[in-house]
Structure formats: structure tokens, C-alpha cells
Amino acid sequence: MNRQRRKVLKTGGGATLLTLLAAAGWLRSADAQAADDWNKAAFEAKTMDETMKSLGGGAAAQSKDITFVSTPDIAENGAVVPIGITSSIPGTASIAILIEKNPNMLAANFDIPPGTDPSITTRVKMGQSSNVYALVKADGKYYVASKEIKVTLGGCGG
């Protein structure tokens, strides 16, 4: 993570960006996100901070209660990288997959209603070796865990 950039975003830059987004009508409050309401701003965000903001969250705390299951350390093919995330944080309401070096960080956001296990498996594309973040929302708070996945063949090239 680029520290200087974070600082800039935290001070003046962040506020300006927020105002801009709000003016463009892109910002939505977290509870306004219905299942069919695709969160354009979140999927177009290019940095962790932007993604967090457009998902309606603040800073995320590192958590050891989020684990990656059946996720490889080295992916032979970036076009198909299996990702499994299990959260043991009580009250898990959503699980998002963020890939740091993809053109847009957010890959998928799963809403977990009560009664469904906070554990999902899916497959994503990765352009290059990168950190993958599992972002969990539980009781209105955000938690994050990360794992580095090395890709030997990119999935976003032409």
C-alpha cells in the first residue's frame, strides 16, 4: 500500500473525491444497496480506499478470523483462480473479494443473509501476481484479511 497516497486521500484529496462522487450521484449509502442495485462506483474504484468508501465503509481492521480455503499460492492460469473465503466473525453480513493489481479492485461482493454459512467459493480472473483481500462486513464493521497469489499466466491480456 502506498502510504503517501493514503495520506493524501485522508486529508484534502479524499474529501474532494467524495464531494465529486456525491455530486455525480454515484455515492449510495450502504443500506440503499439492494440486491439488484449494482454498485457502479465500487466496481469502478481503482484503490482500496475508493472501494471502501463506495461500499459505505471506513477503515477495515485486520482479522485472523477470515480464512482462505482451497485458494492456491500459485495460480497457473490467471483467467481462472479459485478463491474460497470463510469468515468466523459472528454476524457476517457480506464478503467481498478485492484484487489489488487488477484494473478495478473489487471482483465480487456477496451478501450473506442470516441462515447462510459465511463461506463462499468462486473463481476470479487475475491480471498478474497480486495480493487478494477478503473484506468482511459484520455488525456494520469491516474486517480484512489478505493473501498473496502468484500468477504464472495472466488472465486479462489480449
Binding site: L106, N109, F110, I112, D117, I120, R123, V124
Partner: protein
């Protein structure tokens, strides 16, 4: 043109495990064809699973989900013979719903 999903739902203990394989190109919009023109993005934006009229999983996806997406999840309850429905909507507004019987 939408192809059917392959859905498998099995009772595991007191839960139902659902595995879904969807048929979709999941074009990112980043790639170019042989002439160098960009191939427009075409991907599934939202997915939802319902059981007995109750949503058991919903998701929003970006183009970074792999081609022919696979998802598996588990929910409490569910008995043999009951149905699970999966619906997806893509960014062209196309929609598909498929149903599977829990076994």
C-alpha cells in the same frame, strides 16, 4: 442467447450445499480483437439464490469474475425434493433463472 446453468444442491447434515456453474462469457472490456478494437464488456452483474421464496445468497459481480462463473455456498435447512432457484442478470439486461431439486 443464454445457456442453462448447472446447479447441484445436496443436503449435508442440517444444511444444503449449493454449487452453481453458469454459462457466461464474462468479457472484461479490457481485451482487444485482432483488428485492435476493444471488445465491449459483457458480464454478470447480480446473482441471487432463493429457497422457499427466501433469498439465501445475493451477490454483485464485476468483470473480474472468471468466465463461466462457479459459486458454491451453504445454507441452513433444505430438504430433499425441495427446489433452489438461481437468477443472474448481466450488464446487457439479460436475465436467466434456473431451478434445481435438492437431493
Amino acid at each position: 442467447m443464454t445457456d442453462p446453468m448447472r446447479i447441484r444442491a445436496n443436503v449435508v447434515g442440517d444444511s444444503t450445499e449449493v454449487k452453481v456453474l453458469m454459462n457466461h462469457e464474462m468479457e472484461t472490456g479490457q481485451r482487444k480483437d485482432a483488428q485492435g478494437t476493444a471488445i465491449p464488456a459483457w458480464f454478470i452483474q447480480s446473482v441471487s439464490a432463493t429457497y422457499n421464496g427466501k433469498t439465501v445468497l445475493s451477490a454483485q459481480w464485476g468483470p473480474a469474475v472468471a468466465k463461466n462463473p462457479f459459486v458454491s455456498f451453504k445454507f441452513k435447512g433444505g430438504a430433499k425434493g425441495e427446489k433452489v432457484q438461481i437468477t443472474w442478470t448481466d450488464n446487457r439486461g439479460e436475465k436467466r433463472t434456473d431451478e434445481a431439486t435438492i437431493s
